[in-house]
Symmetry: C2
Subunit: 188 residues, 2 copies
Amino acid sequence: MHSKRDLNRHRIIAAADELFYQQGYQHTSFNDIARQAEMSRGNFYYYFKSKDDILLSVIKRRRAQVSRMLEEWTQAEADPRARLHRFARRLCEQRDQLLHYGCPFGSMVLELAKSKPALIPAARSLFEVFESWLMEQLAALGHTDDARGIARHLLVLTQGVILVGNVFDDPALIEREVAAIEAFMDSL
Amino acid sequence: MHSKRDLNRHRIIAAADELFYQQGYQHTSFNDIARQAEMSRGNFYYYFKSKDDILLSVIKRRRAQVSRMLEEWTQAEADPRARLHRFARRLCEQRDQLLHYGCPFGSMVLELAKSKPALIPAARSLFEVFESWLMEQLAALGHTDDARGIARHLLVLTQGVILVGNVFDDPALIEREVAAIEAFMDSL
DNA sequence: GTCTATAGACCGATAGAC
DNA sequence: GTCTATCGGTCTATAGAC
């Protein structure tokens, strides 16, 4: 059902999702979220029991979006290698955002590691979605034993590109490193 | 000279340095720093004009420490390749801290990107110290044209390892990926 | 007495919670 | 809309070294 309650919950989560990415979790206040969602701040505790609770809902939303995206890639491309290239090229598609705010998943884990370690497992689950999808593609390419290691290596490369691209604000670095990642994928 | 003023300034900066790393900049309050430095909070504005000013001093301190470390490596190892290996192996030496809190330089840039973009250039300067040292070693190995690109690629690898290691809290990943980085260095 | 250094009261603003 | 805690930041009385 799309009750009014569900719609308002969704508006709050969508607003928080964007702001948590652009400003970070701690640096985003209820007022910020209220302004972005065009709602009164007072209602929030009708929908959520705490700020942490909003974050958990944001993570859940992101996980659903990631799952949907990966499913689309799986259906659009029959070749596992072509699927991996989709994964790599997404860095270029999202380049400008990534250079500004970093990876929405990596930066969240890092922030929580410093201020809310109890929430790390929830944020880690986003990476696990990517990891298991990558492992499926790698297994299809014959890498059954070392699938996890290679999957994590691909995550290392992508997280590194984003972070260093962010540091130097260097769009060319993204393009160059993505090409190297694709070359590595072809060598598998 | 080591006036009392200098010593106390140093105590505040050292306390802030540790806390900013472990808890993040925003999540560390003046009270936290006061407790850690065993000083009264009221004094801080005798030594610094703002919290941002403390951060700038922390960055300056870290830059000096990094420069000193790189200089030591340069003097201890005559072979540029051996120097690069020092750089890689440091990830293993610092493993436990890195798994807990991430890279002190990378995580700072990421936090500032979301909340204090004006301070990014200061934090970036830490990476530039590493970058230029790496470029010197690469140039000595004959990589004069592509030194910057390779240097940044090494930074990509190291930042990626730390971040993904942090996400999965996986010490073995650090060891494995560092071995791969060293193999890459040998191929240069 | 002078100067450096210090402690802690105090401020307005704003946070999350209700 | 209100509550309480805490934030970064300010001010000042004064203690101790010289």
